[in-house]
Amino acid sequence: MRRLAATATYVTATVAVIVMLFPLFWMMSLSFRADTEQFVIPPTLLPAEPVVGNYTRLLQETNFGWYVWNSLVIATATVVFTLTIACPGAYALTRFSFLARPVFATGILFIYMFPPIFLGIPLFVIFSSLKLTNSFVGLVLAHTTFALPFLLWMLRDFFLAIPRELEEAALVDGCSRPGALRRVVLPLARPGLIAAGIFAFILSWNDYVYALILMTSESRKTITVGLSLFVESTTIEPGLMTAGGVLVTVPVLVLFMFVQRYLVQGLAAGAIR
């Protein structure tokens, strides 16, 4: 009976992993095929003669490199900018009672529910008049609309988990409030800050809606919008498309592996909202 249950567990786990990962495997497989092998019917699981031609063509003959660069700059700027604002903000929300915390906290929760498309339309109009469309600054600001509420919530949880006694002890020992924040709270919350920052990076890297609306000129397109163009053009090139897909996905997975421990914890903390 027990062995049967164990076997069933393994079988289910194996089937689940194979089914759920198949699209990713397929993407890898297609990305290493020459054009002649892309349209073979019926398709083979693995390329007969693996080639890296799609990757070199992608980087040399298309604007892919620019898209990657744009996304990299925007996601990094979004993380740095939003964390700088959210850190003290979330700290204040957890430590100072007179800030009408409940109202503010609920407010952030509402904002979290705003559909991106709802904010995207007015942001396009406002940014057009400020010359912030097709601009990194504009898209970073647009990304703060989801990154900031997200970070505030996540950091709030991490700050709340730090015992106030530790901070009060530092205050008694003659530390100022900013000093206590810098020397006691921030070091203790560092795992949370890293997880939160990486999460914000991935959110920004993956954004499609705001990039689609705000970045209309070819040289300013981000990776997500750029990639979708490979399909919308009249001739579909599965090799280029999947090679691009692999290159976009790899950084996200690497980031994930680095902080897996924090990420699962962070996802759970942030996702309950």
């Binding site: 164990a6 699209p23 952030i108 498309i117 007015p122 008049s129």
Partner: protein, 309 residues
Amino acid sequence: MGPFRAWLRAAFSSPRTARQRERLFALACISPTVFLISAVIVYPALFSFWLSLQHRDLFAPTGTFVGVANYAYLLSRQEFWQSFWNGIVFSFGSVALQTLLGVGLALLLNRPFKGRDFVRSALLFPYLVPSVVAILVIRWMLNDLYGILNSWLLQLQIVSAPVAWLGTPTMAMLSLVGINTWMFYPFVMIVVLARLQMIPLELYEAARVDGAGPLSQFRNITLPQIHAVLALLVLVRTLWMFNKFDTVWLITQGGPFGTTQTLPVMAYLRAFSLYELGTGAAVGMLLCVLLVGIFVVYHRWMLRAAERL
């Protein structure tokens, strides 16, 4: 050290009381957040309302005020109600499947077995792959001629002709729900798993001593423990699926013939394809009011439920 630092300290601890200093610091901490939220969220939201009261072309600098005409127009359109209904089908369908799959896999991962950490990370992948990438690959897999899915179905003789996965209204909606389920079940899985791991093992031991089988253990221990998390997850997921733009847009663009068009897609098409800023903003407003309204009601209800406990 140095004189500058001494000066700074003197300035900071000058005549002000500790309480005042505390308040000043609190305000300094919170004001960037308040300012930024006002600038990029609150102001655009209010501006969107103002836009929704106008007839305005996307590239025109100004518009004409028309009152609630845009809203009246939308609410009288079959297209609006069709999009609304599509959104309900899409979000309820995909949340139901996400929840089933997510809870099932969380239960699996909660059992001890070798390689569990690997399986957990692997099952998280679909959520980590950027939506655009996942969709492009899956759309290619669903291609009538060269897609691997049709090729398999034909080889196994399950179908005699290729299935047009995105070609007919019903199939397009089913594909949409299926793809979104695949993309978002890990969210449910991870949150439920985290909650499952908080359940004290003694409860199960006691139940086993009392002779309870796996099914009764699930019903009497597991389900009551994850009930609250599930309720919240279902609500949040439903609202998020209802306002999803990117996945619907990238998979079907609302087609065929608008049969998978949801309200966010309608808002986008109005504003950026038809250049009707006014009606686009009005769709956005209605969507937002709907979501926030549901959320407020539910939030109140949750608070009251929490008080009763």
